[in-house]
């Protein structure tokens, strides 16, 4: 304990804090890029997966296989696979780029299942009504299905992003200068592990807490369309 007290002034220097802020920025940007790409490509994946017709069977298979495979491999293994694949092709790619690619691959697979669940929550009769009026598949998706699926998709998608902030710690294993990696570095410099990782833990909390608040806010907003007030609790005396 005395060691922590004694180290405090040396630990909380502008230099160290700058290092941590930079690392937090790395963590945040990896998560942001990964989840954004995950969200966008998840829609593409789900749309392709629902292509009707015999000729599209291989396409559907590939989409299903992608989701099933990457949801069943530990994220750390995905990171190493991407690392060695990319390094086999080019030696120019930065570790940060490799980490972002791995994060995207992983995020797409998970978000795709969230998106599919949301889309399947919209009654088929809505799709039939649109198709009977000659809406194309894409028009039906964009104008009718997605606006109704979004309230179902957004809350779990944000929950995924929040928990994914923590999972990005695993890319420290390949040496990306994100929060956890910097923590190990400072620990190696002789700072108390409790002090260093306590601060790192706080940093993760500070990053993810506002996002989960946003998630909760959106969940409430989306559950009550058009600003309508709805009963949250029903009291029956």
């Amino acid at each position: 304990m005395e060691r922590i007290w004694e180290q405090l002034p040396r630990f909380f220097t502008a230099g160290n804090m700058g290092l941590l802020a930079d690392a937090a920025l790395h963590t945040l940007s990896m998560t942001f890029v990964g989840c954004l790409a995950g969200f966008v490509f998840a829609f593409v994946l789900v749309f392709l997966r629902q292509t009707p017709g015999m000729w599209a069977a291989p396409l559907r298979m590939v989409c299903i296989l992608y989701v099933e495979v990457f949801r069943r491999i530990p994220f750390l293994v995905v990171i190493y696979l991407v690392l060695f694949f990319i390094q086999a092709v080019t030696t120019d790619a930065s570790l940060f780029t490799i980490a972002v690619v791995a994060i995207c691959i992983y995020a797409i697979a998970y978000t795709a299942e969230i998106v599919r669940g949301g889309i399947e929550s919209v009654p088929l009769t809505q799709v039939e009504a649109a198709r009977a009026m000659n809406f194309s598949r894409l028009q039906t998706l964009v104008m009718v299905v997605l606006p109704q699926a979004m309230p179902v998709i957004i809350p779990p998608a944000i929950a995924f992003a929040v928990s994914f902030i923590k999972d990005t710690a695993l890319v420290s294993q390949i040496g990306v200068f994100e929060l956890t990696f910097r923590g190990k570095e400072l620990n190696n410099k002789g700072f108390s592990g409790i002090l260093v990782f306590g601060t790192i833990a706080m940093s993760y909390f500070i990053i993810s807490f506002p996002l989960s608040m946003l998630g909760q806010y959106l969940e409430k907003r989306l559950a009550t369309p058009r600003g309508e007030r709805r009963l949250r609790k029903i009291w029956i005396p």
């Binding site: 009769t125 039939e128 009504a129 198709r131 009977a132 009026m133 000659n134 809406f135 009718v144 369309p225």
Partner: protein, 245 residues
């Protein structure tokens, strides 16, 4: 030449065949009703016509022109000429009444917005809901939603209107309004096929009644003939049960 000819059409839901060779003709401006017990395939006939239930064999002709339901272009053409009103209305839950009615004519048929909106107001007036144009479907009663659904179908300016149990959700007062609407449409030359369990409505509005059972046409003819002197045992039995009271 009949406006619509259905020839020996079979249709399947997955692996279950629900129509086993249906055939009938509808003349231009005629109102034809499909009646029969639940599960006899009445609604499926309408769904097959707009390509929602796959037609596995047989064919349909509109104005003597064959529609091949295997090609998406032909299905598009069929949907362009026929509009369906569903039993459960199926209004788009994420859009208000006005947008429900105007979306397809503007976005799909590419008609000018102002013209479509003027027409939509006219149609909503016709079904008695012009003051509800900004309401969302979940703010309307079932009967109101059904009338919006009829307005939405009419906004597409179809040649043939398919009505699937449209009066089943309406309060008795409003059945007459819909009846008047349908009569007016018939006078304007709209060909209509309706599925209904309301026999008095069917008798009044249709020129031909088709009695179906188990995915087949049992008999067809003018309403008086089908209701009062049915030839088949099955139809006698059915009407005997439902018309007695």
């Amino acid at each position: 030449m009949p406006h619509l000819a259905v020839n020996d059409v079979c249709a399947k839901y997955g692996s279950l065949e629900v129509l086993h060779g249906i055939g009938f003709e509808v003349d231009r401006g005629e109102v034809v009703s499909l009646v029969g017990p639940s599960g006899s395939g009445k609604s499926t006939v309408l769904r097959a016509l707009v390509g929602l239930t796959p037609v596995t064999s047989g064919h349909v002709e509109v104005d003597g022109k064959k529609i091949d339901y295997g090609s998406s272009q032909a299905v598009k053409a069929a949907r362009d000429r026929m509009a369906i009103v569903f039993q459960q209305y199926n209004l788009f839950q994420n859009m208000n009444v006005m947008r429900n009615v105007t979306l397809a004519p503007i976005k799909i048929k590419g008609r000018p917005k102002a013209q479509v909106e003027a027409k939509a107001i006219e149609l909503l007036d016709l079904v008695g809901l012009s003051e509800k144009r900004d309401a969302y479907p979940d703010q309307l009663s079932g009967g109101q939603q059904q009338r919006v659904a009829i307005a939405r179908a009419l906004a597409l300016e179809p040649e043939i209107l398919l009505l699937d149990e449209v009066t089943s959700a309406l309060d008795p007062e409003l059945v007459n309004e819909v009846l008047d609407t349908i009569r007016r449409l018939a006078r304007e030359g709209m060909t209509m096929i309706l599925v209904s369990h309301e026999m008095s409505f069917v008798r009044e509005v249709s020129s031909k009644v088709i009695f179906m059972d188990d995915g087949k046409v049992v008999e067809s003819g003018p309403p008086a003939e089908i209701f009062d002197t049915p030839k088949s045992e099955r139809a006698r039995d059915f009407f005997g049960k439902i018309l007695r009271h």
